[in-house]
Symmetry: C2
């Protein structure tokens, strides 16, 4: 039997574990953009010609142009990402090309960060670190209300979106002594479809669907944005939402920046309509200059979208995308495949 070789194009340096998975397959000819910087588009268009598979990143647009440049033999696109906004699904579908992605392996890492941001917002972490960094600690004499913030014990926690990451966050918050969870999905007032950790079947704290965003905003001590971005969730958290929130409540966004109206958030913090905020994402990221108004708010913590940035998770994402690529070439089941 003649040995056939499949060409695959990889648009970035991979983590060792994933690289080894690909290199262990002798039937592959691996053409790789060997850099930590995003792949050059013209390099990709030139090198993709004749490829049976592409392993690409969020930064690589997968559109008609790319697929046409590849040619008819292309069987599989494996994306090293949870989102697939960079991929034209229709274009893949009409060519019968399979699409792999890595949606589940970052749940723990993002839920961890979400708890961290809640606590940083409540406990004035950014403000406190800033004072120490400026050498101001010695001029802050102790008094009973020095640097106090709200405590999570007894809190009602409201989730905008109640998918896997939100539920993993709730699971972590139980032993902190929260008293209640509310959630709002696209089906307001309806029970959540999926119960990923048995938190709905056997709730440790009352866990209920909110009837409206107004109810969630006005009753929560902590609001967590965990929904996807769509026309109906864009600026869901706006001036009206902040006006309904409690003065001691905090807002956390670990989902997508545009769900929160940044100008309204700055104003809510300035007017002390809410106590604080913790953001891993923001509108127009990563273009946040040092003089951006949000950075002048001492009660707002802003991180550069590091939700999934753990060694474990990135190794998992890399190996999972490599496995998806191999499965696509071999006609086997992927770890996670998008239904086109």
């Amino acid at each position: 039997m003649p040995h056939t070789t499949s060409k695959v194009v990889v648009t970035r340096n991979l983590i060792d574990e994933a690289q080894q998975l690909l290199e262990a397959d002798n039937s592959l000819e691996i053409v790789q953009w060997k850099s930590d910087q995003p792949c050059d588009r013209s390099w990709l268009l030139e090198n993709v010609k004749g490829a049976s598979g592409i392993l690409l990143m969020l930064s690589d647009k997968c559109d008609d142009e790319l697929l046409q440049a590849a040619g008819e033999q292309l069987k599989v696109v494996a994306s090293f990402s949870v989102g697939t906004d960079h991929v034209d699904r229709e274009a893949l579908k009409k060519r019968n090309i399979r699409l792999g992605y890595t949606p589940t392996c970052l749940t723990d890492a993002v839920a961890d960060l979400s708890v961290m941001l809640i606590l940083m917002a409540q406990r004035r972490g950014g403000e406190a670190m800033g004072k120490v960094a400026m050498g101001e600690w010695s001029s802050m004499p102790w008094h009973p209300l020095l640097m106090v913030g709200p405590q999570i014990r007894g809190a009602t926690v409201g989730f905008l979106g109640f998918g896997r990451i939100a539920q993993a966050t709730l699971k972590r918050l139980i032993p902190f002594g929260i008293s209640r969870a509310l959630y709002l999905t696209s089906r307001a007032g309806q029970p959540a479809k999926d119960d990923h950790y048995g938190l709905l079947k056997e709730p440790s704290v009352p866990t209920e669907p909110a009837k409206s965003w107004e109810e969630l905003a006005s009753e929560s001590d902590v609001v967590i944005v965990g929904c996807s971005l769509s026309p109906s969730t864009k600026h869901l958290v706006n001036a009206d939402f902040f006006a309904k929130m409690k003065k001691l409540a905090v807002l956390v966004n670990i989902a997508r920046g545009p769900v929160v109206d940044t100008n309204a958030l700055v104003e809510a913090l300035e007017k002390e309509e809410i106590f604080g905020a913790g953001l891993d994402v923001i509108e127009n990221e990563p273009n946040i200059p040092a003089d951006h108004p949000i950075l002048k708010q001492p009660r707002c913590v802003l991180l550069p979208h590091i939700g999934s940035a753990t060694i474990d998770t990135r190794v998992d994402m890399a190996t999972e995308s490599a496995r998806n690529l191999l499965a696509g070439l071999r006609g086997e089941a992927m770890v996670n495949e998008v239904e086109l």
Copy 2:
């Protein structure tokens, strides 16, 4: 029956709830240092004369001089604090004066902060916030290992000291998916005396006493300093300790600064012997000038001793110290009394 009045001296503005508790007792003459700044010593020595009770803060030294200035009628000292280092216990004992304190109500607040510091150290929170604040986000192109840190899932968590706060921290860490807990007390290798949350009786993860500090240092992915300060714990975490730690491990100190040798910590971070650190306390606090070497370490988060700084906790501490004062005057049981 003649109405007798007891004089009590209060060395600071109290939180409303506590103030009301005292004012509700008509038999009290309340003499108060009405300020958020520490009480002036000469004011205190002058005004304490004839007092039956004193409600004081960590910043007020309670020694022979003060007790003598008060006079023989003094029955009770109620301290608004967990520690009682500022109180000369022998001096109280020989005069039969009772001592109240507030040791338990801050457990939750400190355990919350301890989880926050673990995550900040692992996820490079300070470093990430700093990059955003400098406007560097747009020049950080995404790549698979950008800003990654270790993940808490699967971690072995080592506790130096395993009292109430340490156990409350462990309880919170279980749903993060940690795999094992080790603890070291003054009785190395021996099971902990107290099981505050049933974590030892029915452990969710293997929870064992370490045989030595070497074992704890070398096996832990997270080391939490939760022990009290004593000659035997001073600089317990020193250069030898860091040399045994894992390169991806983090150190958290929510107890007392001098348990950790700061110079050794700076060196360990510089030499990348450990991954990061999260400190709520440090040697020589609050005298940490802006050019202190620890503040030059991007992987170290330093907070200004805000462990118990939540509204709930400070209200609890204030009302509890007021209750202790009243109980001392009335000859009743205190919420928490020091055995002298």
